[in-house]
């Protein structure tokens, strides 16, 4: 493999009130109509907003996150971010040879923080996700939910204000997922984070988001943008959450059916 350095991108071009802006962003892999993964996406995420991106599989949700994170570059259009976004994945992506605390300390180590300081901060981040008593366990000694908590702590440790989450709870059981929803919500509120959260689960999107954006598939286009005004804290099983997700699911279904005809 060849290591490609992330491109230096203008930071601060997103504007005062927006943490992330996408202007007519397209991404193409190969020629032909099927090669177009994202088609002229316009999206502006105000600082502090929790935005959930929903779409059928293969609609380019993950591609979009890669572009915003800077791991990949758009074929056309412009992306602006106010701070370097941090990614979190469905798989925990922890380094298996490092303990929980060393995993969380990694971004600070890369940033050149001295060891005692970063260890202490890492332990602090782990305590904030209720993992204060498993600091020195390795990923394989932790449960799936705990691993995702370590991954959350590690994204916090980058000190980034913008979090990009790619179905981070997709592989968890329902109870653990509900618990992590609560924790993520309170971390987001306490730290004033901006979160772009990708999921295929509409109810999860309504549970978490200030706003739910619907992406069509092949090519990915923004087809609907729903504000979610429900009061917080919400719960996965709230009747209001159920009603709102029913409405969005209907729109999503229409979108899927429209594409099936082609």
């Amino acid at each position: 493999m060849t290591a490609v350095l992330p491109e230096a991108r203008p930071i601060g071009t997103a504007g005062e009130s927006y943490a992330v802006t996408l202007r007519a962003v397209s991404k193409r892999y190969g020629a032909g109509p099927l090669g177009l993964a994202l088609d002229r996406i316009d999206l502006a995420i105000p600082a502090g907003q929790f935005l959930c991106l929903v779409g059928a599989s293969g609609c380019g949700k993950s591609t979009l996150l890669n572009l915003v994170s800077g791991l990949d570059t758009p074929s056309a259009g412009e992306i602006g971010v106010t701070s370097r976004p941090t990614l979190m994945f469905q798989e925990h992506a922890l380094l298996p040879w490092l303990s929980a605390v060393d995993n969380v300390a990694l971004p600070m180590r890369l940033a050149g923080l001295p060891k005692p300081e970063r260890q202490e901060k890492a332990a602090e981040y782990l305590r904030s996700v209720h993992l204060g008593d498993v600091l020195h366990k390795r990923p394989h000694e932790l449960s799936g939910g705990m691993r995702q908590r370590v991954a959350i702590a590690r994204t916090l440790a980058t000190e980034s204000k913008v979090l990009l989450m790619d179905e981070p709870f997709g592989a968890l059981d329902a109870m653990t997922r509900d618990l992590l929803h609560d924790e993520l919500e309170s971390l987001w509120q306490a730290r004033g984070l901006t979160i772009l959260f990708v999921t295929h689960n509409v109810r999860e999107a309504v549970r978490l988001g200030d706003r739910v954006v619907l992406l069509s598939s092949r090519p990915g286009r923004v087809v609907a943008d729903f504000p979610v005004g429900l009061p917080r804290p919400r719960s996965f099983s709230d009747p209001d959450v159920t009603a709102a997700s029913g409405e969005i699911t209907a729109a999503l279904r229409k979108e899927v059916a429209r594409h099936a005809q082609h």
């Binding site: 493999m1 290591a3 370097r84 380094l95 040879w97 890369l110 980058t158």
Partner: protein, 198 residues
């Protein structure tokens, strides 16, 4: 024995460097990758005539053959390991701020470690064999060497001594192999991929 260790150490350094360089730069990879595999299939003893031409009957000749035997295995271990690093870890590492060499140091090389260790283990086996072959062919006056002892004991009609030496050679090989296996299983244990019994 000292020769073997020194030769192996030098081979390890060169092998790791070649492995990293080759895995990192695509042009080098297409040029050198096949060559490395090719070198590996060449019996090391076939290099001795050339080595003796280049370096006469000297330490250097033996060292040369040890290196040419061990370096490709070690480099291949590195390349193979780097190729199989999960892309997700690389994406995560880059996103957390690891670029260039830092990415290698903190993510890619540790992830490739099991394969690197097995390359080193194989490299040691090649080095050890080349060493013995070399010592049998290249006798250097007044320098103690297992190979020289072995052929002397044959010439002087001391089969018992000769067999004892052979057993010693075998034991050293087994011991080193055990050490590598121990390193390997400790790596696997740390990463949670060890079998329950080990």
């Amino acid at each position: 024995m000292t020769r073997g260790v020194v030769g192996f150490a030098i081979a390890a350094v060169i092998g790791l460097a070649v492995g990293v360089a080759t895995s990192r730069w695509r042009p080098l990879r297409s040029g050198v990758g096949a060559l490395i595999t090719g070198l590996q299939t060449m019996p090391s003893i076939a290099w001795f005539p050339l080595a003796i031409l280049l370096f006469q009957l000297s330490e250097k000749a033996i060292l040369f053959v040890i290196l040419i035997g061990a370096v490709p295995s070690i480099a291949n271990g590195v390349i193979g390991g780097v190729d199989y690093v999960p892309p997700l870890l690389i994406r995560a590492g880059r996103n957390l701020g690891a670029t260039g060499l830092a990415l290698y140091r903190h993510v890619i090389l540790p992830a490739a470690l099991p394969s690197i260790v097995s390359g080193l283990k194989q490299g040691w086996a090649f080095a050890w064999r080349s060493l013995l072959a070399g010592e049998l062919i290249v006798a250097i006056a007044n320098r103690p060497s297992l190979g020289a002892f072995l052929s002397n004991s044959r010439e002087l009609g001391q089969p018992a001594y000769m067999i004892a030496l052979m057993i010693a050679i075998l034991l050293i090989g087994v011991l080193v192999d055990t050490a590598f296996t121990a390193v390997d299983s400790s790596i696997r244990r740390r990463r949670g991929v060890a079998a329950a019994t080990s």
